[in-house]
Symmetry: C2
Subunit: 495 residues, 2 copies
């Protein structure tokens, strides 16, 4: 049957996909390779490409084509693909090209300067660029809110996590706020009685790199379709056919980099295993950022800190750095499940992590809604770190609001996805245990494929076929249920 | 005064420049980083971008704008910029978009497969892809010839070396053919009486890399605006603000990589020092490929093999690999000026190098004109290598027609630029010696800035302001005069 409008749309989206490929590789290069004097020219080039893609997504021909295609006789998957096109179209058309271009430029400048401002604790210098980034984000939020009928913050969050609202988040995070502090206290009291041997450095960077690559292989990362490199802030970029993961190394500490790599490998395998026959179309995109984080946290927390997995990781660590009691499997597991409030989100354990996210959510939401200003951030940060984790952060901006790349890059509304991802990951493993009753024993035997197969079938291969709630129901029998996360923490840390 | 058409044109060329930036970085990445499974998606993305740039250069609005701008009151430099726009426009508009896209795809496939076919000596496998590349190049040549009135081969060469013709080349190369064999024989006879100590490996790659970077620093390369990486075939890519040089390392030999890096540094400094105030406009482009090669060969041959420069390079080599009689300055200079016919063009000394170029010219010219076919290349190669350098190459395709990246990438008409570049380089140093009578003494004292200043003022900062002949006259008082190259060889090797 003939579907001419739909066919024109898929051709347009293939072109978008191909040009976005170059944008993605150049973005990775910017973080992993680019020397300092390249910054202005690259920012101009990235802004030009963003404007071009924006023009393609706002082509006046598209509304008619979308309407016509919606009347055409499409298969179910094609109809889902069309729904995602419509979603992308709606988002892009709420924004004028000049705004997209100014945002890209401001974010690129702010992010690049941030790389040297953070180590210098230079909040004042950062503020100069960040005010521009924030002003433009508010402009964007107002336009998206008008388009969607959502609040300004929800309209930004909707870009990453369609269907999630701050009303729903308030309920979820409100619940976590009730039981988390007590749980953390009980876990710390219990762990205080355990003996843990600390690893002793230095840990040569070459060995760390080799160890990270071994862990990636253990986790099934395809090195024929991706790489591991170094950047200031680890991320997983590139394209599904060529995934570019990054990490960072410190000679005095290796677990942060190793488990950060395990985390990014979860993102990487999701990308590498999106539905091949749909690549280039929106249907082949990862469903949402919370689902993306559910994959990285399935890898880092659910599997990566599983005693059965750690038993297979331990000998690789010992081989990398030489034998040491710290690398004995039981001790390594205790190291990986240590609960202790700290300043840095990306170094946080899975029990205190939600506190970092709640803090950021409670700052970035009023920041976008216009209830507070950029210069109010440090005082709020200090107050909330004391309240949530009992930590004094005054004067230490580098390990405070300057620690994340998200705000300089204008990724407002992204942080909640991390904790939603942790909750989904717990929900996936609960479903897996129902489907595979001997799951833990099989992981202990090194049969990790059972995990990858379940994730591949239920999450990776589904791309954006379903809404997030529907995907969760199909995979696990229910929409997001944070009780699984609490049960996971209680079983692992207090069981 | 108002120049609306010219202003529109400069805005268009700025956009072209910004998008080409991403193409250039992705091209570097393809050679230096990309894993094998990325090849199809990258080829599609590069083809999409090439088609997009082609559409911009063939925008039906341009002819009118160019005509109108030619009537506007422009400054001399603006008028030269407009002349270069017209040249680019003429070249792009001779080619239909579909051809550009098919060429990009065919070259990308052929080049990627070539990387594994060359070490396997797999000419048959290469031929499958190369026939497509050649067929498309002939199609292009026919269209460009019709547009310019040049012969097919000259029309391709004109893309790299505007103004050069095969008639002029026949005269130049015909002259070289007369005196070169005898000169090589006399040099070899003379050098046969000299004692040369060979370096003894292995040469650890990390030390080689550090040595190459030291040499680049000695030569003034700006590492804040560029990098050195590894690829199968060394090249200098990226953008003027962020130059991406590559090299390759062998553990058993270091001079090839070191002097290859010195060579690419010449390209890199030309790019890094093009006129900043014009960047983004055609006036800021390097004048031609022969002029580009004249910079790499000014660095590699004129300066790099100068006894005064070698005296400063020698201690760096000794520091990298430990003291050895081979690294004594006089011996290192003898190593760098050894004349010996060999199979590999990029390893050839400056005296036998023209033979490699003449051979390729005599094969690719009839290949493009349709007088021979791709499958005729190996036999012709064997015959000409025997005739020109007395070497038997039968059966060794890897070190024969598979050795260069140019043909897989459809760079027909490029090879002559190497020898023209060597001739220009000799001409520049002859002019420099007239301007700075104590040039050689100053190089011996490590005052290399005198060379960089002359090149910067006369070549780099001029961009595409003048025609090649005019640039040469302004820099050295005369258009290309190959007598300087012969005089240089006689002075260095027989003086």
């Amino acid at each position: 049957m003939s579907t001419p409008a739909y066919d024109e749309l898929t051709a347009t989206w293939s072109r978008l996909h191909r040009l976005a490929h170059l944008q993605s590789i150049a973005g990775w290069d910017q973080a992993a390779n680019m020397p300092p004097k390249g910054v202005e020219a690259r920012a101009a080039a990235m802004a030009e490409m963003a404007a071009l893609l924006h023009r393609m997504r706002t082509d006046p021909k598209l509304p008619q084509q979308l309407e016509r295609a919606e009347q055409e006789p499409l298969a179910d998957a094609e109809r889902a693909n069309l729904r995602e096109m419509r979603r992308e179209w709606r988002q892009a058309n709420a924004l004028p090209e000049s705004l997209v271009q100014r945002q890209q430029l401001a974010a690129s400048r702010c992010e690049h300067a941030w790389r040297t401002q953070r180590p210098r604790n230079d909040w004042a210098g950062f503020l100069g660029n960040f005010r521009d980034v924030l002003a433009l984000a508010r402009e964007e939020a107002a336009l998206l809110a008008a388009e969607t009928g959502l609040t300004k913050y929800d309209a930004l969050m909707d870009r990453f996590e369609p269907g999630m609202t701050s009303a729903r988040l308030d309920a979820i995070f409100g619940d976590v706020r009730q039981w988390l502090p007590d749980l953390v206290q009980r876990v710390m009291a219990r762990q205080g009685r355990e003996a843990v041997v600390q690893p002793v450095g230095p840990f040569p960077v070459d060995q760390q790199r080799a160890l990270c690559e071994q862990a990636m292989r253990l986790l099934g990362f395809d090195f024929e379709a991706g790489r591991l490199d170094v950047s200031a802030h680890p991320f997983c970029g590139g394209v599904p056919e060529d995934v570019r993961m990054t990490t960072r190394f410190r000679a005095d500490e290796f677990l942060g980099s190793l488990m950060g790599t395990v985390h990014e490998t979860g993102h990487g395998r999701y990308e590498q295993n999106l539905p091949r026959q749909w690549l280039g179309q929106p249907l082949a995109n990862a469903r949402s950022m919370a689902l993306h984080e559910s994959q990285s946290l399935s890898f880092e927390m659910q599997l990566g800190a599983h005693p059965g997995f750690v038993a297979h990781l331990a000998p690789l660590v010992a081989a990398a750095f030489g034998p040491h009691p710290a690398y004995e499997a039981g001790n390594l597991h205790r190291l990986l499940t240590r609960v202790k409030p700290g300043l840095i989100r990306v170094d946080a354990d899975e029990a205190t992590y939600p506190a970092h996210v709640i803090l950021r959510y409670e700052i970035e939401r009023p920041l976008i809604e216009g209830d507070i200003e950029a210069e109010d951030v440090p005082a709020l940060w200090d107050a909330k770190m004391m309240e949530l984790l009992g930590l004094d952060t005054r004067g230490n901006l580098a390990d405070g609001p300057l620690q994340d790349v998200h705000w300089p890059e204008a990724l407002f509304g992204y942080f909640p996805c991390y904790s939603l991802g942790a909750m989904y990951a717990a929900q996936w493993f609960a479903a897996m245990r129902r489907a595979v009753p001997d799951l833990d024993a099989r992981i202990g035997r090194g049969d990790f494929a059972v995990v990858f197969d379940w994730l591949g079938e239920n999450i990776w291969s589904q791309g954006s076929r379903w809404s997030t709630d529907e995907l969760a129901r199909r995979a696990s029998g229910e929409a997001l249920n944070p009780a699984h996360f609490r049960a996971h923490l209680e079983a692992r840390y207090l069981g």
